[in-house]
């Protein structure tokens, strides 16, 4: 078991090292001639207007919140699914009830209009 995690640890090193080499190698072999116009920020061919960090829709934030609720739910459900063999019928129904509560929550959000983009 510990061997497997050692493998993953080594894999993380390798998987970050190879792309890092690939990204930084062109710096050595590629040309490097920066100038004022080349380093300008692209904005459809005109000069950049104002700051890049503009205000954005609040809806992104609401979706992030909804995601958080449902993602935590799934983390709770994984142990339930793994131990399914040993669960009595009662525990299975409890899990189903848990999903139902979240389903009701989803419909509540839906009715409240939290899922609308406009």
């Amino acid at each position: 078991m510990l061997d497997n995690w050692l493998y993953i640890g080594l894999f993380i090193v390798v998987a970050l090292f190879i792309p890092a080499v690939a990204v930084f190698l062109p710096r050595l072999i590629g040309p490097r001639k920066p100038n004022a116009i080349k380093q300008e920020i692209y904005e459809c061919g005109i000069e950049t207007v104002g700051d890049a960090w503009v205000q954005f829709k609040v809806q992104y934030y609401i979706f992030a919140l909804i995601f958080l609720i449902f993602d935590i739910e799934t983390v709770f459900l994984f142990p339930w699914a793994v131990a399914f063999d040993k669960l009595p019928l009662f525990a299975v129904m409890e899990g189903v009830l848990f999903i139902m509560i979240l389903l009701v929550g989803l419909f509540y959000l839906w009715r409240k209009g939290a899922l609308e983009w406009a």
Binding site: Y7, A22, V23, G30, A52, G95, L115
Partner: protein
Amino acid sequence: MGDPINLISRWFNDLLLGWGVAENLVKVISLAIGATIVATLSLATVIALIWVERKIAGRLQDRPGPNRAGPYGLFQPFADIIKIFTKEITIPDGADHVAFNIAPVLALGSVLLIWAVIPFAATVVGANINVGVLYIVAVGSFGVVAVLMAGWSSNNKFALLGSFRAVAQMVSYEVPMVIALLTPVLLARSMGLNDIVAAQTPWFIIVAPLAALIFLITSMAEVGRAPFDLLEAESEIVAGFHTEYSGMGFGAFYVSEFLHVWTIGALIATFFLGGWSGPGVETLPVLGILYFYLKTFIGYFVVTWIRLSLPRVRIDQLLAFNWKFLTPLSLAVLIVTAILDKALELAAVERWAYALMMLAANLIIGWATVLILKAIEPKRKRQRVEFTPRPIAVAPKSVDNVSSR
């Protein structure tokens, strides 16, 4: 004889031990070599995929695809690689250098890391951990961070918009994806990928076709390919989060996208198409690698086919499709699967009857979903707007005013 890969690794271990290397060091060395081989092999697959994808795209769009560089254009990806490696890397003014440079590395690394746990054959598994599915979900989420870092650090409005869209999309589609992954976990009673493959009698695409379909759709959205390519919608926000990237910075995102699609194929093969299982794997486990790659290619081809066939969706349609359709459907599928599985287990039915009942239940849910959708949102009637003749030029009304002034 049936397992040359483990044979070679054992021979190599014995060789090192014979040279008097410490046992723990031998373990680390052989695992590091294994990790390097798997990672390099995955990246080498991308070189082939670039050619395969362009050839498929060409054929589906009624054109030959790359055919100049070498026989059948086989050297095209190598030409691309040489070109992209010698390109100048530009970093825009006012960009956050650290985040800007780390983002492509993280994007590629997050996809590469999934390959650490994928079982190529019964005996050829990188890390057979008992939380494999959770590991895949966790590692896959790093891609979102990479995209957000790329867009945020570019100091570009289009890049920022693209990364916001990307995060909203990837984060939303992760919910039904994880719930769809719960179904094979529940059916196999394990999160280890090798256990899930071994439990597939019959394949889970027969027992849980709806979960497979949801997983296919949501993972396509996770990759961010057409019809879900809003994060780099070129007709709306230039190139999305990688607008300011050039050379290998862009190349890393490009390669990570290709590798991600291939990884999706591998995951579909592992979770729903029986992974390495096939005729003759008991006696010859190496055959499993062949079966695994064949099934992976099937998944990959389906994703590519869909990408080349469908137009892009709008962002409101995209999120509505996820939250108002896929999420409730995936929860319903999970509930029905759990209850039916327990009921059939208590009734102690035969395996084939179990599979048939599961398939029937899935078909009923799918059919009911279509009916409900039709009831909620009937087909919109086309509104005919008649052409009303109007004069081409109208005399200005305020002629009097002008003359009186």
